[in-house]
């Protein structure tokens, strides 16, 4: 049987997964979402831009220390699991996966550094690939990238 493939979009040599996210605990209904697949990141992060876009309240009591990302330093805070849905294969069937995102909030106070921090995208890191049992396949010469279900 052919394995399920989730096609990724390649933009500017970055791998983008387009999905819909929602969180009952955050009282966030379904929202359109895009994130970069980043094998250089151990964890998955909701960018400051998306935290603001979805108006998620980042509580300092849930802080898990600081993290350097994209040349900027952020406070990372655990948020309740968010469910990410995307199409599996060519069908219009959805796969929904709970993602233990951390939310990012810049520690910088200067306007210029705050702007730089807000430019960074959301990231699906190695935890996403291992928890969801997907392997990552990229053939840039053919402009093809996909996740393949190995579960």
């Amino acid at each position: 049987m052919e394995k399920e493939r989730v096609m990724l979009q390649i933009m500017n040599n970055r791998l983008i997964l387009v999905g819909v996210i929602e969180s009952k605990n955050l009282r966030m209904p379904k929202r359109i979402f895009d994130a970069i697949i980043d094998t250089g990141s151990v964890n998955s992060y909701l960018s400051q831009k998306d935290v603001e876009r979805f108006q998620i309240s980042v509580q300092s009591k849930n802080s898990e220390g600081e993290v350097d990302f994209g040349g900027s330093r952020f406070v990372q805070a655990k948020i309740p699991d968010v469910e990410l849905s995307f199409f599996k294969g060519e069908s219009k069937e959805l796969r929904a996966i709970k993602i233990p995102f951390r939310a990012l909030k810049t520690t910088k106070s200067s306007e210029r550094k705050k702007i730089i921090a807000s430019e960074l995208p959301s990231i699906l890191g190695m935890d996403f690939l291992s928890n969801s049992k997907y392997s990552l396949h990229v053939v840039l010469t053919e402009n093809i990238a996909y996740l393949q279900y190995e579960g």
Binding site: Q9, I10, M11, N12, I16, V18, G19, V20, M28, K30, R31, I32, F33, D34, I36, D38, G40, S41, K49, E52, R53, F54, Q55, F69, G70, G71, S85, F86, F87, K92, E93, L94, I115, S118, E119, L120, P121, I123
Partner: protein, 79 residues
């Protein structure tokens, strides 16, 4: 169970992101160092400051969660 809402949102989101990708080079020239908000294959607004863009969108009664917001720059960022 088929979630029709999520399916239609996802179809529209994928189509928007493909459109954005197809116009990426043009937009990078036009909106260098700016955030742009887009949906339904249309640029809704842009600003060099994310907070200002959010304020403009909310003033226009646009839910910021219902649009894509991307930053465009000729300077490459390393994650």
């Amino acid at each position: 169970m088929v979630d029709d809402d999520a399916v239609s949102m996802l179809l529209s989101a994928q189509s928007d992101m493909k459109w954005f990708g197809a116009n990426f080079t043009k937009f990078k020239k036009e909106f260098n160092n700016k955030f742009i908000a887009f949906r339904n294959k249309q640029v809704i607004d842009s600003d060099s400051n994310l907070d200002s863009l959010m304020i403009k969108l909310r003033k226009s009664n646009i839910n910021t969660a219902d649009v894509f917001i991307e930053f465009l720059s000729n300077v490459k960022a390393i994650l």
